[in-house]
Amino acid sequence: MKTIIGLEIHAQLLTETKAFCACKIDVNAKPNTNICPVCTGQPGALPVLNEKVVEFAIMAGLAVNCEIHETSSFDRKNYFYPDLPKGYQITQYFHPIATNGYLNLESGKRVRIRRIHIEEDAGKMIHSSENITESKTSLIDFNRCGVPLIEIVTEPDMNKSEEAKEFMEKLRDILRTLDVCSGNMEEGALRCDANVSVIDDDGRSSSRVEVKNINSFRYVQYAIDYEIERISKVLRDGKDVKHETRGWDFVTRTTVSLRSKEEENDYRYFPEPDLPILKVSKSQIENIKLNLPELPDQKAERYMKAYNLAKDNANIISKDKIISSYFEKLVSLKIDPKDSSNWIVNDLIALFNADSIDFNADKVPIESLKTLIEYTNSGKISRLSAKEVLGEIYKSGRNPEDIIKERNLIQVSDKNSLVPAIKKVIENNQSVVEQYKKGKTSVVGFLVGNVMKETKGKADPKVVGELVKKILDGEIV
């Protein structure tokens, strides 16, 4: 059995104003406050293209290895829905701005990108019931209407749901690095529709099924897996798989039929007469290319080469530009790159992940982590204590030195002050000492543990171990 997956992705662009009018984009604004004659489809209003949208689309196109077209054009996609005030969406149907790109997955597999085009978002609807047909009342907020989108269409090059998820995450990391999209799927800033079909072992191919409303990275995988299973079962039962559009329901974790092929709209695409042909010059494209930020893959490559980081660590750090800039600052403060990457990946990111929040450099100032790493490396505090301090910094934002002092975490490594405590432990554990003398050297650990208890964890366990041996061996009297 073989599965074929293609994705259609919509990304909201982070421009200050809408695609075809001067209205502000602000997700927190009160409903219907950022609207004007253009984006509410008043009679006689005309669209004017926001140049920033073109720049962002070109950036995204270049970042995913697309060919950027010097000439592209806008078209109208006609359909009726209350959140679409003009009765048509302005899009690029016949001549998109970018085509023929690709992204490589970790496995080395290449997923080709067919096209990227510019279009506008619709308004947002709130229904009194489940959906518009069952609702007595529906409310429309036109603030989102006209927010610029790019639609990215892949070739059906993926064969596993994991690949689709990885593609989405990779794309998100790129768009975030470019600062053209927040990449937030839960908020709808990044949306994914998956086209899934299955070929069974007898070579019978199912129709293509489109799954919509996938609103998180996890669900990309779940929804596709569910759909593969559903289609396979229909094939196994010897039935025909309907060519249809289905919606992912994250509550039941199933897909439900939205409409069959026969119910699909005829969008009556035709060239948008209100907008001239979109022309961008070669030099404009070159200029954007020159100013592209370093992309996650390039960054990871550099980290592995320049700092000898492990691939996993390099990938994790480089995919988020806030994390990578944090890392680079730490390195610039003369902290060993490998140490820096270990602390960031193993300790710091774990804290944010535990709270399911985005990495935020303000929560643990770079200077604090630097101090903490230095204290640990010099043996002043133990790795365990350091972890505790990091947790406290993350929670309260307090200065690491204050926390160490307050909690009395400085390790005791001064021999003279440790010897009495060790002698006391040896005296209290004579039977263990006997075992040592019979050759069971492993009991040293037990004695060290007791010394640590005795010193309330402040002793440097390495130093204690050496001293315990020396005293038992009679080297210190």
């Binding site: 509410t40 005309l46 006609n78 035709f270 001239p276």
Partner: protein, 466 residues
Amino acid sequence: MLSKLSVEELIEQIKLNKISAEEVTNHFVEKTALVDPKIKSCISTVFVKGGDGILKGIPFMVKDNMEVTGTKTTCASKILENYVSPYTAMAVQKLLDAGGVVIAKTNMDEFAMGASTEYSNFFTTKNPWDLQRVPGGSSGGSASAVASGMVPFALGSDTGGSIRQPASFCGIVGYKPTYGLVSRYGLVAFASSLDQIGPLTKNVRDAALIGNIIMGKDQKDSTTVEKQMNLLKEIEDPIEGFKLAIPKEFTKGLSDSVKNVLNDAIDNFKKMGVKVDEVSIPSLKYAVAVYYIIAPAEASSNLSRYDGIRYGLSFDGESVDDIYTKTKDEGFGREVKRRIMLGTFTLSATYYDAYFDKAQKVRAKIVHEIKQVFNSYDAIIGPTTPSVAFKIGQLSSPLEYYLQDIYTIPANLAGLPAISLPMGKVDGLPIGLQIMASRFEDEKLLRIGRNYEISRGKFPLPEVIL
């Protein structure tokens, strides 16, 4: 009598302190109150004053498909019967800024689809030359208002001849500027690639004067272009040595009476030392067919927004589809529905290539063939309409109406500037001469028109018997 004066003459009277700007405005407001009940040019009378400028106190009317803040903009449709404009169209704003005063919104065929105002949802406007006849359309309200002296000028819109044909029927001047010269911002779209705003005036000089004010690149209309032009500057420079072309396709089948009037016009040009040749533009025979594919296609999309959700007529329904169906069924008239259906059909996936795409190709061919003519000629001339104004109710089939625009449509398809100005009378009714020039040669167009106008001599305005 002030009502007979041109815009320029009125400006002169005010300048010489013979009359105040306020008195001028009031005169025309009163005149409208007297005459309009007979002619029925106006859908609503309004009073929107502008700033201080060359047009200070000069009243004008605006076709009811242009937005003027606070006024109803109905497009003569039930679906927008109570729609109040939240903003002002750029062309109107420029006239207001120049001091003009809007005193009425004028009748038209619903959404500018028609050639007589008979397709207005409200009433049919009458031709001031003969109240039994139509004023032409779709800008029939604006044309009849100027012809009957209610205002010295008015704005119309021209998608397939909607300024020029009523100008021809009413014996006045109607000027459609080059596509892209005047902002369409605030003009309710019928067919966006063809629509253009222009003035209806008593003479060519006024058309140039108003044209100068309303033209110009507008940030809010991406299809406008920056062009430095002064339509008045050289308007009376002689045109000796100019070459004009009359396409065979524009004279075939003309009645003898119209031919005679046209020949008089040709003689006038020849007397001015202008060469007039007959040419052939074979693809013109497809112009009407192409137009009736492209215009309804764009219209079907442009009119989608009237859905009863945000503004305008709205019916409650069982479902969204029910709201749409009831609203559109009740709100749109027969001709508008016909064109929406036609356009929806030609754009559908199955028929796009056979109709819309093919029409676009033929349109390109027409543009090309006309361009060839302009390589050798300064302008193309012919009658504006095949005949004079017809009687109200006289035409019965849509096709008869569609053929009204047979000579005017090519200028829209090719985005050319074109003007209609009176060239004579047939059976006591006026008929227009149409002149078309190359894109952005509006200066030359109006110069040819003005020279002809002088050679022809004064053309009378109709006397409306109250």
